[in-house]
């Protein structure tokens, strides 16, 4: 009696399984690695969240199952190599996304090249990465786009004469600081204060005072979130007489506004994306992502999550369309040209984003108002900003 019942159940389960398999295309294996622990854990975790949403949305949209393999590279270059060895070598994924920091993405993308597995990153902006001319290397953002947005805004919009640049000693922030300095100098803007500071600095006042004494109109801080919090708090205490405060990435994020409150007002930042900054053509897609992300994680997505999402989406699309062969996936990615929430996306032969420009935005009443480039602008810049004492 019992035996017969069991047998029937097994039969039913078997049939059900056969039916599902027959009805669906084979699952796509997508690999992702990110520093979910260690010094870059914060960024890595957000990146993975975005990638997960992409995989789920893709399945919903296409009916194709996604087998997402995530590997924590622990912010260690050796482990980043191991990640690719595992994803490409063992899991045999059709493409890899993720990676944060040039020192991790460098070795990882090299391993991916060895396995001939397409690799798309969103967290490594060093120009030297694409100089290697790997066929499998793609990235959604890179340095010149950020530098140009800052330098052009300062020259064209603010028409400033003297700029102070303070930058975190880490690799990406050093590179953008040097690039912006070069572009400003070429445009005749003076940079009398160009100072590097260490990660973990807590007293920024001596640095800000140098900017004050040099009579700089614009304060450019190329750093990370803690650096913005520190410099803005200290600038407010000093009532620093600058007309604009401009940061690099990671500024103007939901977290930024949440933590700094009124002090986040009128601060400029460059970004590839913040909520509500998508070009008109991609507003719907942006809304879809934000909604899915909020539903899944009960919080607002950051630009890192958005980049993770987009990179996974493009990779999955290319794999699905091309049938999974690396060469087809690469060709499809290289042929891609679309307007997306981060603007127009197309890759050049080195894998760099052809049209990438960051937007420069200003925080106003807790919202990001894009002020540059003009074609994505959502409003006029408030320049000079109101004094710190009234924020």
């Amino acid at each position: 009696m019992i035996a017969r019942k069991t047998w029937r159940l097994v039969l039913a389960a078997g049939l059900a399984a056969a039916w599902t398999q027959a009805g669906a295309a084979p699952a796509i294996k997508l690999g992702a690695h990110a520093p979910e622990t260690g010094s870059l854990a914060k960024h890595g975790q957000e990146q993975v969240k975005g990638i997960r949403v992409a995989a789920e949305e893709f399945s919903k949209r296409t009916g194709i199952a996604v087998d997402l393999k995530v590997y924590d590279d622990e912010s260690q270059p050796q482990k980043a190599v191991a990640a690719v060895e595992k994803l490409a070598g063992i899991e045999k994924v059709a493409g890899i996304v993720g990676g944060y920091g040039s020192n991790l993405v460098g070795p990882a993308s090299e391993a991916a090249e060895r396995y001939d597995t397409p690799y798309m990153t969103t967290g490594a902006v060093d120009t030297k990465l694409s100089a290697r001319h790997f066929k499998n290397f793609f990235r959604l953002n890179y340095m010149p786009g950020y530098a140009a947005a800052q330098a052009n805004t300062i020259r064209e919009l603010f028409q400033a004469k003297k700029v102070a640049i303070l930058f975190n000693s880490q690799s990406a922030t050093t590179e953008i600081a040097e690039a912006v300095k070069g572009q400003l100098a070429a445009g005749g803007v003076q940079v009398p204060v160009f100072e590097k500071f260490e990660k973990g600095t807590t007293n920024y006042k001596p640095l800000l005072l140098k900017a004050r004494d040099a009579g700089c109109e614009v304060l450019l801080v190329e750093g990370y979130f803690p650096d913005y919090v520190g410099t803005i708090k200290d600038a407010k205490i000093l009532a620093l007489p600058v007309k604009a405060y401009v940061g690099a990435w990671g500024i103007g994020t939901p977290e930024f506004i949440r933590e700094l409150g009124p002090m986040s007002e009128f601060v400029y930042g460059t970004s590839i994306w913040e909520m509500g900054t998508a070009p008109k053509a991609a507003r719907a897609e942006e809304a879809r992502f934000v909604e899915a992300y909020r539903a899944r994680f009960k919080e607002d997505p950051s630009y890192i999550a958005m980049l993770g999402y987009l990179s996974a989406e493009y990779m999955l699309d290319a794999i699905a369309k091309g049938g999974g062969a690396a060469a087809r996936t690469r060709d499809l990615l290289r042929a891609m040209d679309a307007v997306t929430p981060i603007g127009r996306v197309a890759f050049d032969e080195k894998g760099d984003p052809r049209h990438f420009t960051a937007v420069l935005f200003q925080t106003r009443a807790g919202k990001q108002v894009v002020v540059y480039p003009r074609d994505r602008a959502g409003g006029e810049a408030k320049y000079p900003a109101v004094p710190w004492s009234t924020r």
Binding site: E36, T37, S39, A41, Q45, V48, V70, D72, E74, Q76, P77, Q78, K79, V81, A82, E85, K86, G89, I90, S102, N103, G106, P107, E110, R114, D126, K128, R132, S169, Q170, S171, T174, E175
Partner: protein
Amino acid sequence: MRWPGSGLRVTEGTAAALFFGALALLPLALSFNPYYLSILVAALVLGSVAVSWNVLAGLCGQVSFGHAGFFGLGAYASAILAMRAGWSPWLAMAGAGVAGVAVSLLIGLPSFKLRGPYFALAILGFAEVLKLLALNLDSLTGGSQGIFGVPPPTALRLGGLTADFEASRTANYYLAGLLLLLVWGAAVLLRRSRAGVAMATVHADEEAAAGIGVPVLRTKATALAVSAFFTALLGAFYAHYVHYLDPDSAFDGAWSIMPIVAALFGGMSTLVGPAVGALVITGLDEFLFKRLFESGHQLFFGLLLAAVIVWAPSGLLGGRVRRPTT
């Protein structure tokens, strides 16, 4: 750690033979799977640094918290020698070892008058200074941008076999394994030598050692120099293995801390213990904790560490392996 119900004790030589034998055969068992091998390479590098660290700590009783300094120094020295001076990576690695010795003596001589935690932390201070120098001497080190494209060691041909260190994980695995064997072998020879006897006496009682004519300072300096030589050599291997260097990863504090953890875990009283410890902790973290929790696995690692210190303070091999007597 004593296993209940087993009175088996092996000599250190036997333990080492078993260990290195297993290392040599492991790739076969793993069918040369590059992922496992790349994890093992990381474990072997850590193990070698742990054995080097233990030359100073286990043999001579001087605990350092700043071996990341020697590791990063070796990595940068080798990369710069290979890329700027055009040395062969093999030669550059040896040069890095020599640089490690030179710097270790500069650091060690003023520091040796400090005892216990003060010595340990003085070395940590020097390691931080080295890191800051790597960060700020842009023209030499590329600053925070680091050094890209560090060449892999040139391929070796042996009859029909080619060891290609650029792509093959197997080649790198065996190279790392050989380095570990080299470090361990050197440590064994050192322990047997006259200097090794001196280190043992200094470890046991500095004053009594001086009383029987042991030159304490020179003994400590020798231990540090040997330890720094191999740590720098491993740093050099690391640079040629990952092909990228930046101050944050080359001078990562983990290179100071993890070897200590590995050595304690495996047992500091033996020379092979730290290497065993490195393999076990890397294995546990990678294949057990990481499987259980994708991003929370280090949480277990912290607890495990605390547990081992409390309940097995002499390490895995501590109670199991008998030190040979001369």
